[in-house]
């Protein structure tokens, strides 16, 4: 395990790949790896790319990678695709659009399946980001699954979240809805050569006029397939990062991100201990048979952990 961590910190591809497998699958050694790499994290720029299916997230990611490489930055990519709710399997196809970078040592792309985790990311995405970060990647791009309206976990992780929109998906009321539309730090109106792009940009502008945030999202037009608008988009992404740094919001953002990460671990730890209790199955059965309320069940289980019942 020590050799693996040493290799990872030195940026070795195979060490990083193996470490990701351990962390992604909660295999033995995960804790040791994360404990060792954690002090070496915090240097990468975390960029989220989200938006509806078919908006062009992967193609846009591909072009953003190329642009970052031209600037001399190394890039890690986590491409999340959904798992089947029935078989648990997945087809991870985001890479198809990024294969031009397959032989570039400065780019490491890893696909992750959601494994029924909600929120648009895979369960251990944050831990995998730490590994990329510790391995010295300058920018880590996290491409979410194609999202609908409520998969907004990315905003709790990324320094800048790009929401990719395309013309023709809905009327202005869709833009006013809560959820994904609210988490954008930067909007990319992709397929901007299509009919309806102007209308979409105008509707977004109108929506943003009502936003009271200190740092308002900027809108960029892109045609990812042709590489149009990518330079401006990338500049806009880093400009957002700088504005956040300067605005003093960054401390609050870091606090919230740390809190979310802690909460995830607290949840896992408590769940592991509770489901490992001797009486756990019995409590589930009693609740299933309507002989016990879920609330009483929780109290029983918490007292079994030696925690106060009024938890």
């Amino acid at each position: 395990m020590e050799a693996l961590v040493t290799g990872l910190l030195a940026g070795k591809v195979r060490s990083l790949a193996k470490a990701i497998t351990i962390v992604e699958n909660d295999l033995p050694g995960k804790r040791e790896i994360l404990q060792s790499v954690y002090p070496r994290t915090g240097n990468a720029y975390l960029l989220g790319i989200t938006g509806p299916p078919g908006a062009g997230k992967s193609t846009l990611t591909d072009k953003v990678i190329a642009h970052l490489r031209a600037q001399g930055k190394t890039v890690g990519v986590i491409a999340v695709d959904p798992s089947s709710p029935f078989s648990g399997g997945a087809i991870l196809g985001d890479r198809i659009r990024m294969q031009q970078h397959a032989l570039d040592d400065g780019v490491f792309i890893r696909s992750m399946a959601t494994r029924s985790h909600l929120g648009g990311l895979a369960k251990n995405t944050v831990d995998v980001i730490h590994l990329f970060d510790a391995a010295g990647k300058d920018v880590v791009i996290i491409e979410t699954v194609g999202v609908g309206q409520d998969e907004v976990d990315i905003v709790r992780i990324a320094q800048t979240t790009v929401v990719v929109m395309v013309p023709g998906l809905g009327d202005s009321i869709q833009i006013s809805k809560a959820g994904v539309m609210e988490i954008a730090d930067v909007f990319a109106v992709n397929k901007a050569d299509r009919d309806g792009a102007d209308k979409l940009v105008n509707e977004l502008k109108a929506m943003l006029e009502m936003v009271k945030a200190e740092v308002k999202p900027e809108i960029f037009r892109t045609v990812a397939t042709d590489g149009i608008g990518i330079e401006e988009l990338v500049a806009g992404i880093f400009a957002h990062g700088r504005r956040v740094e300067e605005s003093g919001l960054v401390a609050e953002k870091r606090f919230r991100q740390a809190e979310n990460e802690l909460k995830a671990y607290i949840y896992d730890m408590i769940m592991e201990r509770i489901t490992g209790l001797d009486g756990y199955d019995d409590v589930v059965r009693q609740v299933a048979a309507k002989k016990m309320t879920p609330m009483t069940g929780v109290e029983k289980l918490f007292s079994g952990l030696g925690l106060p019942e009024e938890a």
Partner: protein, 132 residues
């Protein structure tokens, strides 16, 4: 919890016929595996780089161009060169019977010909990948 089996389905060579690769990908997905699909016209170098980054358990190569005798062994050789010789490599496509012994000797674990059922492929992967 047992680790999910992760498979790269790749199409080396210049033919663009990827229906077979897609059918196999879908069947493996339905069998609960995680499948990386990288599209058509991949070089052995790209395939191996992808397999290493994704840390897959197995690679399925599909080739209908007739270049399998050159491309399949090249993938196996590159894997060994990169220290990933433990990855299970199998192949499929329009492959003459007389080529099969040579491919197997070169390290391709199994060849599935047209008409092979996806169940055979699934079973083969399950039996032969070394999951941690």
């Amino acid at each position: 919890m047992s680790k999910k089996i992760k498979v790269l389905i790749a199409k080396p060579g210049l033919d663009g016929h990827d229906r077979g690769a897609k059918v196999v990908s879908r069947a493996l997905r339905d069998a609960g595996m995680e499948v990386i699909y990288t599209g058509i016209r991949q070089t052995p170098e790209q395939i191996v780089a992808t397999a290493i980054q994704e840390d897959v358990d197995s690679i399925g190569l599909s080739c209908l161009s007739g270049a399998h005798n050159k491309l399949f062994p090249k993938v196996v050789d590159l894997l060994k060169e990169k220290g990933a010789g433990d990855v299970l490599v199998f192949g499929g496509g329009i492959i003459p019977d007389e080529d099969i012994p040579g491919l197997k000797a070169a390290g391709i674990a199994e060849i599935f010909l047209p008409g092979a059922s996806t169940e055979e492929t699934i079973e083969f992967i399950r039996q032969n990948v070394k999951t941690a």
